[in-house]
Symmetry: C5
Subunit: 353 residues, 5 copies
């Protein structure tokens, strides 16, 4: 949790629009990749921040992908070239920002989380990805290299599919859609993990299982926080997108919205499942406890009276007639066996073992 918690206090008191990168510090260079395409032509290259203005106003569709937010200066230059609002740049750098859509006069700003399943135990990483879309250009900002957009890149390179035929808003839609599609991996992970935990939690409620439950619960809650505001992101684009979002794209955005709802429903469902698994854990624990108690009770209850009886005949009174009887010892054994049997029958009837 703490990794995703708000780490903005280092900025407290700084004036608004001050560009400070919040997130893990990196030292490698910021990488800027440009796709410049029309329905017939595509041009892909890495380039420097100063060259970007060439793409601002041309007739082609330009997708500029920025990998790495740690070099604040470069971001500032991009902002200047595309006339971006200072507070918007601040939002891009604040990698704990809530997903949101903001519609400006000449461009649209979208920020959301891209999820990634990693193989170690922390499970899921969230990386912030922001988009600024203007007339004919789209800039995407990522914290780190490695993303989910390779399918889109392939399609652009081969000029396949609908993307090259449509305007830049469709490219934005496709990228958002790809991000959201990847959320389904996470819900599947939750589902599988839930099933795995549930399998033997009741029979064997170990403290480790409880830890796993708590971890999963928190992951689900965190993921919910990532997904919930997305509904407004999608509906905001459709409703307030203005002239930058084509009429023909609305149907697709509605579809995106439905996918988000579906992810949301699935998370809610997982939440209920994990809550009921925790109930199972608690019931399992108390069940096991009861079992332990019953054994204790059965053993104690059988032997305590018998021990009393043998104690009686261990007393050293000079006058104890029974001890003198020839078969006294056997009689006592007989009595004790009768008591034993009686108790066993009693407990069996009570279904204690």
């Amino acid at each position: 949790m703490s990794r995703h918690s708000v780490r903005k206090s280092s900025k407290a008191g700084a004036p608004p629009g001050t560009l400070i990168h919040i997130g893990s510090q990196r030292t490698d260079a910021v990488k800027i990749t440009v796709f410049d395409y029309t329905a017939d032509l595509v041009n892909e290259r890495e380039c420097q921040v100063e060259e970007l203005c060439n793409y601002c106003n041309n007739k082609t569709i330009t997708w500029i992908n920025v990998d790495g937010l740690h070099n604040v200066e470069i971001l500032g230059k991009i902002g200047e070239q595309f006339h971006l609002d200072k507070l918007l740049l601040e939002d891009i750098l604040n990698t704990n920002h809530r997903p949101k859509t903001e519609i400006f006069q000449n461009y649209i700003f979208v920020t959301l989380k891209m999820v990634d399943m990693n193989t170690d135990r922390s499970g899921i990483t969230h990386e912030q990805v922001s988009f600024v879309m203007g007339d004919g250009w789209l800039i995407s900002f990522q914290e780190e290299g490695g993303d989910v957009f390779d399918g889109i890149r392939d399609r652009i390179r081969k000029l396949q599919g609908e993307i090259p035929k449509r305007k830049v808003d469709f490219l934005l839609y496709r990228m958002l859609d790809t991000v959201v599609d990847n959320y389904f991996f996470v819900t599947e992970y939750f589902s599988d993990k839930n099933a795995a935990i549930e399998r033997d939690i009741f029979k064997n409620p170990t403290p480790e299982a409880l830890k796993e439950i708590q971890t999963l619960k928190r992951q689900i809650v965190n993921f919910k926080r990532v997904v919930l505001p997305l509904r407004e992101v999608a509906s905001g684009l459709e409703k307030d997108g203005g002239k930058l979002v084509e009429e023909s794209t609305h149907r697709y955005l509605r579809d995106l919205y439905e996918h988000i709802i579906q992810v949301n429903d699935s998370i809610d469902s997982q939440r209920e499942v994990i809550a009921s698994i925790q109930d199972l854990y608690l019931s399992g624990t108390s069940n096991k406890m009861n079992e332990v108690m019953k054994v204790l009770t059965v053993i104690s209850t059988i032997f305590i009276p018998l021990t009393f009886i043998v104690g009686v005949y261990g007393m050293n009174f000079s006058n104890m007639p029974e001890t003198e009887w020839h078969y006294g010892y056997y009689v006592i054994w007989g009595i004790m066996l009768i008591i034993l049997s009686g108790m066993v029958i009693y407990f069996r009837r009570k279904k204690w073992f």
Copy 2:
């Protein structure tokens, strides 16, 4: 649960409108049945997908039932003939889709779940059924053969009742109504199951009963998820149905809406019942535990002091006057009986047994 969980990740990254069937794979042929009727005539036959266009524009009412969604190609052909939106076809194939109504210019799309009680322990199966209704035609898409519409088929064959006399929107209403009517079987099942579990849960709270409670709880939650969005389906048809939904059908749709509310209320009620049964289970468990504890306490508390007394007279001191008394042994028995009686009276008063 996992069976109904979202299984869309296999599609992640595919462009929208790509037709991929999500669900269990089947190999048998897709079966297409056509009912073509007016108030006086009815014509029922199986046919190939290529023949369907004959029915697109004729004056009769045509109900085309498609059994099986696994052959994506056939679905694509249907889409072409009736000019259906690609994303709509995608929704039909995504059998985990949320129930919804979508109003297009020339047709209305409705998707919801058809429930079926099966005899094995998993209880309830949900099958997705989708409807596309245009001017004079209705196509229904089902995942598998076997449905709840036989009553409607009979009535059409015999030209009985209101269906042949009215437009196609009434047929759609009747089919939705039939699906919703079947939900009542499920709520009854919940009600009966609840009653069965409740009967002896408090007296005998076994772990198996808890499992049953958990299963039922989850079934109810899942079913709730199926029913809840239906309210918008029904009200959406009435409010936004446009010219495809006759004024005279509105009253029926309102009635459908009320039935959905009734199912919903009933589910909410079952949820509260199952929650209170779980409370009963927990109370029953702790009650039984207390009973066990009391027996242990009573036995221990009675015999521990007595064992101490007999221990005292088992000591081997050379000078223990009581052991020399002629009636010492009997006196000790007397004392122990008095202590025993005192304790029994004490426990009785405390109502411990």
Copy 3:
């Protein structure tokens, strides 16, 4: 619960408007009573369903009370004479219907539950009562004879009070008001029952008390479900009643609305009370358990060490100096008394008894 659960599945698949009575089957005749009155004259008689049309269009106010819904044919005839909607008749017969108001062009339909406290343990019975009010006539449908309207009948017979002076909408208001007034008996019953259960639940939390709590809880939940939709019934009449509801009756309907809110508040209050009683029960149980545990601990902790000591001197070592001492036995008793006192003081200080 199960008695009030939805029992509509027997209708599944039947076309809408099919009149099937849902509820317990009866064989006695349906009884129809008619009050025909103006401000000056009153005429009360039992009559056959065929005679009712005499009252449809006359200038007097006519109240037709129908006792018994099991004869579907009679209901159908009434429907024909008063031109009632088929689905409306279906709603009247479906005795599990949610309370509602529906405004038609020429009449208003209201259905709600009439409560009755019975003397056996099930506590409260709900009977559905439906009203159809047209211009100058009011038909009330009850499942069984015996109702709460005798006060109104008396007042009409004696031409007392406001009813004879006003239009038929006031009669409807008075009948609804009487039904709602009877709800207060139920909230009082809940209140008394709660107080009775609470009195000794903490001191003596028996399993029977828990059963009572569960029963009461469920009764309250069920009653809540009866009352909650009534708010819309009352406000619906006031707002959408149209020309059939006089302006002067609005103030009374607002008053009725407030009474319903008051009942509602009272039920919510009872819910919180019963929930906190259940908390008390659980605390009481665990409290009693603790008491038991303490007794066990005190007795065990005192006697286990003492028993050890007497065990020591029961050993048969040939060389045990203490056993040879003349006062050894008394010294041991002394030591044991000191240990005993020490423990008693320790436990007293810990407030264990």
Copy 4:
């Protein structure tokens, strides 16, 4: 609780507007006090109900205070003189009425609860106070003598402050404000009580403390019910007060509204506090139980094995070599001391004592 529960069933079936006093019966006379004032003159006297009409239409501001609602006849006469609605009078008499504002054409009706802290254990009493304000007159109805308005009376008598300078709506505001100000005493009482209970609940969770928690919890819930509807009372006066409420009073009513919100927030806060205290109680109980269990376990676990050992050497076998050893007895003591030390170290490490 039961004291405040709804006691209206005695009215069930009575026609609306029937004046029946609901509440404790009293026999002393109803006391009517009149303040008649302008900015310069004030006239205070007790008077009979018949004289009131003198004050209806004069130019001065008249405050009529009615102490006691048990004489229904007098109330009826007041109603006639000021042309009050019959249902309004019924609301005044129904001392369980929900706080509300109702705007009539010529007057405004406000009813709410006046709280009083009493010294016995029941804590807080609620008394209903109703206001009817017309053009130039204000009637206040109280159940019993003794109220919170003495400060206002003083100020009117001395013609101090704003009240004599303003219209009658300001007097109403000041009275409502005084009632609400007194609510702060109650929230303070809750706060103090919470602090008192919390102080030693965890260390010493007695059943009595639980009773106190339950009582306080219920008082808070009841008080919440008194305060919550007040928000609508205040905002209703401001928004719908019409010409009877001066524009200049609106700012004050907004202030009153904020005070009500503040009381509300404070109650919500107390609710959370009491809930967390109850958690503390439960944790404290289980904590104490664990402590008890640990003592039992430590004592039993130490002495049960030792008792076994001494038992061994209490056996009467003819051939037990150890018993013949000269130092056998001391060796056994040594072994037992070693076992004892080992266990003590084990338990210390486990932090069991």
Copy 5:
């Protein structure tokens, strides 16, 4: 809690607008500091309340900071000079007031809490700070000296940044923003504290940890209460600020709003975390209890039967053949070792230790 609870009852009955300071009493002088600046010039000085009117109407921007609310007279004078509403002054003095924005004709009033982390265990202190902003002037009221605005003072003194270039509404925004930025310190504190508590709560659930959980929980709830109403404060300024809030400042206020939402989200997250930590605590407690129980059971169950056996051979019957056997003693030891091993195996298999 009680420190922040409502302490207004001392005012009950006082007329509205009476200036009474609610809060801790202080005796030192009220300190008034004035910053008077334009884009080019800045003038900073302490001054007396009487001199303030010089700044009311000049063309420069004036920020008047008032430290200390305990001198009611001075506040009254400020109110006169700037024509402030009496109820507004009352709100400033009531340091328990809910955060709010109120728009007057000639000025805007904002009140909220400034948080401060202190080093002792109470953790967080809330201090109320109020702002009144008119045309060209801003007055800030603080309870005590020491605030978070030193960064702003520096920037004004050096005429750096945007503040000197913009109107007074930007100064207000910057002050609010600084206050909100400091909230992030608190959420970090919560986050760190949560992590610290969580680390070993499960392994070692001490009562002290529970106390810490309770304290943190309550701090979070209190802080939530401080932050929640701020959303309306920020959006109120943007929407209803009128001509006093420049169009260009709207974007900044929206940014402020988003920061508040972020704090809010973070608090909600901490609430869920602390709740799940409390669950962990309870599970940890019951886990430890189970461990204790198991040890007790294992020890008791092993030794109670063995003790019985040695008791048997401690009996003094004259005829007990086994005791006469030469190897009887060793046979018994053998039997007891077999029983011991059997039990150890049994318990190992049950995973009890």
